[in-house]
Amino acid sequence: MFHKALWYQNFKQTRMIVGILLVLFILYLPFFIMLSIGSWQEQVEHFSQFPDSEFTLYEYEVYNIFSVGIFPFLVVIGIIFFAGLLIGVERNTRRMDFTFSLPFSRREIFMAKWLYGILVIFVFHLINFSIAYVILWQSEFNYALSFVNLTEIYFAPIFVFLLFFSFAMFIGTIAGEMITQVALTFIFSIFPVGVFFLLHGFLELHLNTHFLYIPEWVGKVTLFFYLFEITSQPINLFFPISGIILFTVLSLILYERNNIEHNGEFLIFKVLHPIFLIGITICFSLLGGIIVSSLAPWNAEMLRIISYWFGFTVFLVFSYLISRRLLRMNLTIKNK
């Protein structure tokens, strides 16, 4: 897994996205903290004109810089594409033929990719976090650091990034090509909550059942939830760390069993076809039901139920036909 050639090959095929990730990390941490400090100084100045009021810095403003917000979300998108370029793109082109013909085991090939990715994310985050931390620490707002702890602003975000990377790599071991890998990573990152809403829509209409909150366990198994959650206790890092370990072990097992003759297709493992066919069809049918029933007046219950099943049936037919075609597609680039 530490073969120089494999690392070089991985760098060569991902250097553009690595550059983009670096820029995103710079924007997310050092750049954003400088903007925030500038904004806070402006506010201090503004408040100084009013003797009765005083500028107050809240902890959520520190979280918005280090832990949550648009930049961590953009970084996660970058990380998913990064994983796509490490595995998925090799399947679209003939690069995997080259890689698998080399005198390395598949375990070594996968671990070189995984470690390379983990190291890039870890180092970029560490450097940019340190710079951002020092900038804030040296500013007049350094007291803001006392509002938060390291788990909240450093460990939780980095483990969430590594979790997304490991998950995207895991999806890469079952997806047949890059677009599928990226799309499935996004879909499965919100899947539990998505399914909850689809079932909720069904139950709400037919049984009049309402859930005010998403159950906690549904949130815990939905990756995108971690992007909007502040983790204060180190014990709560258990879920992302377990996810990283679980997805990496599964990835290793599946990558070794890679049938690369299915490269370019939707899925590598044909045994998953019926599961995906049924899953995609049911989810889209439920979605179709919700969309069409939402067009009916809210007080006309029977009409809403009829509309629901009309939408359900139409979406069922089309999603079944599209899914069948999707599962048969092949997106391998074969030019000479």
Binding site: H3, K4, A5, Y8, Q9, K12, T93, R94, R95, M96, D97, F98, F100, S101, L102, P103, F104, S105, R106, E108, R257, N258, N259, I260, E261, K270, I333, K334, N335, K336
Partner: protein, 291 residues
């Protein structure tokens, strides 16, 4: 290198069935078959790109699948250099040096000079012929013992083809490597291969040493008073017919066939020199059959 009873199924289709042969050191093995016969799948399995459904590939009696390190002895040159088109020649050199412990940098530069190959920033910018030559230069510089080539001269001009064939023969003679070539160009294989493995429907239809293969078949031109009798047609392969003039191929060992031809009293019976292409047509079906 031993290919032990390899079978491969893809999408419920049996692509390879019980392929079993051995590649001797210092030999050139031609893998011949019609389009879709499974030649490329066989080469990709021999280098461990594809996992066989059954069977194994052994080097020094050890499986390349359980010990991938053995693949230092094998290099696969695909029919396209798509995979590494964004690499510069220098990057390729460094990449291969890092992978193959026996990589011979001096030999690499020597071959680059001999074929007047320029150093470029992107392999993809080289002409098709230069890409093919460069792939071979890299392959030979790895000092791998088995070089697997998939259609190495496909789409190349005559001059490049000649250069490629020359370097292949030289390498086998000087460095005792074995070259396994899948090709449609039977005339080229005839010129250099020792062994021919004919693949039909994923199975080894014939495996011969080329010289003995030619001894096993007979090509003849025959003319009958009328058209060829149906009884005879069932036993021989007609590779060409012009009016009542037939060019036929049949297995030599079947002496009764010659007697059978004589019983129909041909006006002309003349034996002709046989080529690999004739055997290919005779073995894999008449020339009218397209796959």
């Amino acid at each position: 290198m031993k290919i032990k009873h390899i079978s491969k199924r893809v999408h419920q289709n049996q692509i390879l069935s019980d392929i079993d042969f051995e590649v001797k050191t210092g030999s050139i093995v031609g893998i011949v078959g019609r389009n879709g016969a499974g030649k490329t799948t066989l080469l990709r399995t021999m280098v461990g790109i594809l996992n066989p459904t059954k069977g194994d590939v052994l080097i020094k009696n050890e499986s390349i699948f359980s010990n991938p390190k053995l693949k230092e002895n094998i290099i696969f040159v695909p029919d396209s250099s798509e995979a590494l088109k964004n690499y510069s020649t220098k990057e390729m050199l460094n990449l291969y040096k890092g992978i193959y412990s026996r990589f011979d940098e001096e030999y690499f530069h020597e071959l680059m000079d001999r074929f007047s190959l320029p150093e470029v920033k992107k392999i993809g910018n080289l002409s098709k012929g230069m890409k093919a030559l460069f792939s071979l230069v890299v392959a030979f510089s790895t000092r791998a013992k088995y070089i697997l080539l998939d259609e190495p001269t496909d789409g190349l001009d005559v001059i490049v083809k000649k250069r490629i064939l020359k370097i292949l023969v030289e390498e086998v003679a000087i460095n005792d490597v074995s070259v396994i070539i899948s090709s449609h160009r039977l005339d080229e294989l005839e010129f250099m291969a020792n062994d021919i493995v004919i693949i039909k429907d994923g199975k080894v239809e014939k495996h011969y040493e080329l010289d003995s293969m030619k001894l096993n078949y007979l090509k003849a031109q025959v003319v009958f008073k009328e058209y060829m009798p149906e009884d005879l047609k069932n036993h021989i392969t007609v590779i060409n017919q012009t009016g009542r003039v037939y060019t036929i191929v049949f297995e030599k060992k079947r002496d009764e066939l010659r007697s059978l031809i004589e019983t129909f009293q041909p006006i002309l019976y003349e034996e002709l020199p046989i080529s690999l292409e004739d055997i290919f047509i005779a073995t894999l079906g008449g020339e009218d059959i397209v796959s």
